[in-house]
């Protein structure tokens, strides 16, 4: 069954979109990530224009994060205060990200920027995660090896403007909190992702937050940053395709339920190493596109006529 998407101006098979949403939903259910980093490139592959793919992913992320947040609110695993500070930084970052996106779009380099961001960040995160989980598996084999201390003291604890975050049990400066929020905001505007895959490690390793509040808090602030991005893309680029977002999220929420039941059956280390491989393979695919000579050197884009 075909559906003509009003903003993307292409006709796409609905079941293909359900399938894409579902596939990403299963993966995000297994690994506990938003899946934006998968859905945006997949939309490129099925022929959705990049600008529409980035903007619409932002909208779809709002839905999947709201869906996930309710479960965490019930378990009280959300640090609302920390989330609000991250959000303050995130909104500034995402406003800046949209400006950057539109500037590079006018130069014709926005595809390059998006692809480079994917290669760099997926490469770093995937690589670190891979090494880390290999170590964890080796540690688990040795059994009873030295446990990793959480809340180590690093440079973050030397900064001024300290604030107490009760739910996280932290007393730290707001500067790194705002900076982490802003950095994720820029990336999420440019890449069309929630930024959970960067936010979560940053919260654990830079801010030293306890793992149990990390996912809920990250979801809380992602809702608002992704919502803000949706609004900015809708106003400045007019590229949010509502029907497209709906098809993806229907597939996504169903897939996520299956994914999370698969996820509980797998071991944490196996889970992380699989996620690392997934992230690295997406990164590798995009990197190859940049490095190999493309079959078609030329590309065309319609210049939006004023007022139309």
């Amino acid at each position: 069954m075909q559906f003509y998407l009003p903003i993307a101006e292409v006709s796409v098979n609905i079941f293909l979109l359900f399938g894409l949403g579902g596939l990403v939903g299963v993966l995000s259910g297994i690994f506990g990530v938003g899946g934006g980093f998968l859905i945006t490139p997949l939309l490129f592959f099925v022929g959705i224009p990049p600008a529409v793919a980035v903007a619409t992913s932002a909208n779809q992320i709002v839905a999947s994060s709201v869906s996930g947040l309710f479960a965490h609110l019930k378990r009280k695993t959300v640090d609302l205060k920390m989330g609000s500070y991250l959000l303050a930084g995130g909104l500034v970052g995402s406003g800046f990200g949209i400006l950057l996106f539109n500037y590079l779009k006018s130069l014709g380099q926005v595809d390059l920027l998006v692809q480079l961001c994917y290669v760099v960040f997926l490469g770093i995160i995937g690589g670190l995660m891979f090494i880390e989980s290999l170590r964890a598996i080796r540690r688990a084999r040795k059994a009873g090896g030295a446990r990793r201390k959480r809340s180590q003291h690093n440079w973050v604890h030397g900064l001024p403007f300290k604030i107490r975050f009760r739910a996280s049990g932290l007393y730290i400066s707001v500067i790194p909190v705002l900076l982490v929020g802003a950095a994720v905001g820029v990336l999420s505007a440019v890449m069309g992702v929630g930024g959970g895959f960067i936010m979560v490690p940053a919260m654990i390793y830079i801010l030293g937050m306890p793992t149990k509040v990390v996912v809920g808090t990250s979801l809380f602030q992602i809702i608002f940053v992704a919502g803000f991005n949706t609004l900015l893309h809708a106003i400045t680029n007019k590229t949010v395709d509502l029907p497209l977002a709906l098809f993806l999220l229907i597939g996504g929420v169903i897939g996520a339920q299956f994914g999370s039941s698969i996820g509980v059956k797998l071991k944490a280390e196996t889970l992380r190493i699989l996620l690392a491989i997934l992230v690295l393979s997406v990164c590798g695919k995009i990197a190859l596109d940049l490095l190999l000579e493309p079959r078609e050197l030329y590309s065309i884009s319609r210049v939006a006529a004023g007022g139309q």
């Binding site: 909208n59 949706t230 339920q257 030329y298 319609r302």
Partner: protein, 254 residues
Amino acid sequence: MRWLLSLLTLLTLTFAAQAEEEIVLGLSQDQVAITAQFDGSDILIFGAVKREIAIPDSDLNVIIAIEGPTGPVEVRRKERRFGIWMNGATLEVERAPAFYAVAASAPLDDILRRIENERYSITVDKAIQSVSATVAFGNTQAFTDALMRIQAANGSYQLLEDAVKVDQQTLFRASIALPSNLTEGDYSARIFLLRDGNVVADMATTIDVRKVGLERFLFNLAQDQAPVYGVLSILIAALFGWAASALFRLIKDG
């Protein structure tokens, strides 16, 4: 009074002498509605040749050209810099149609003289205008060729030789498939009758391609009421997210 009548007769006679053959045209539809279920559309163009004279000896050929809305298009060429392939030189093509189909009753080279093609701008390369002023890098031909190649590959530019059927030198018909990635706007359809490589009659009509219903509503809202559309998108997404989590909790608990 009488002299007026005779003048009219004379005028009609001279007109008839100029156009010995005329096109009588029919379209299966003169508007295409892009609905949510839109998946391309076939347009049947048919007609007859009306003539006051005996059928001439030479073969009658028919060319049909359909042109979608035109606008400026940027053509970019990827170049290798710092080891990666990125967009380099850009050519802004002043006007290029979003859709262009040429259907003919025989291979174009056999039935259309080059000078007639120039005069009536029949083939797609005549419909594309690039600005010579922006040529800072020499060869614009490579860019316009690439534009035509890419558009042909995705079905937006079509050359359908032998697609027009001509019966008894009088009736003709052709079916042209409009692709599913159609842009809305006014599509012009031009029909040319040819003899010995020359255009002996031509005619033009318009096909109106519009989004309708939900498509129209969402597109207009996104264009004219962008903030409202943005907020609406967010609210619907949030509502769906909440409903999904509530629903699955019900299923798990119940």
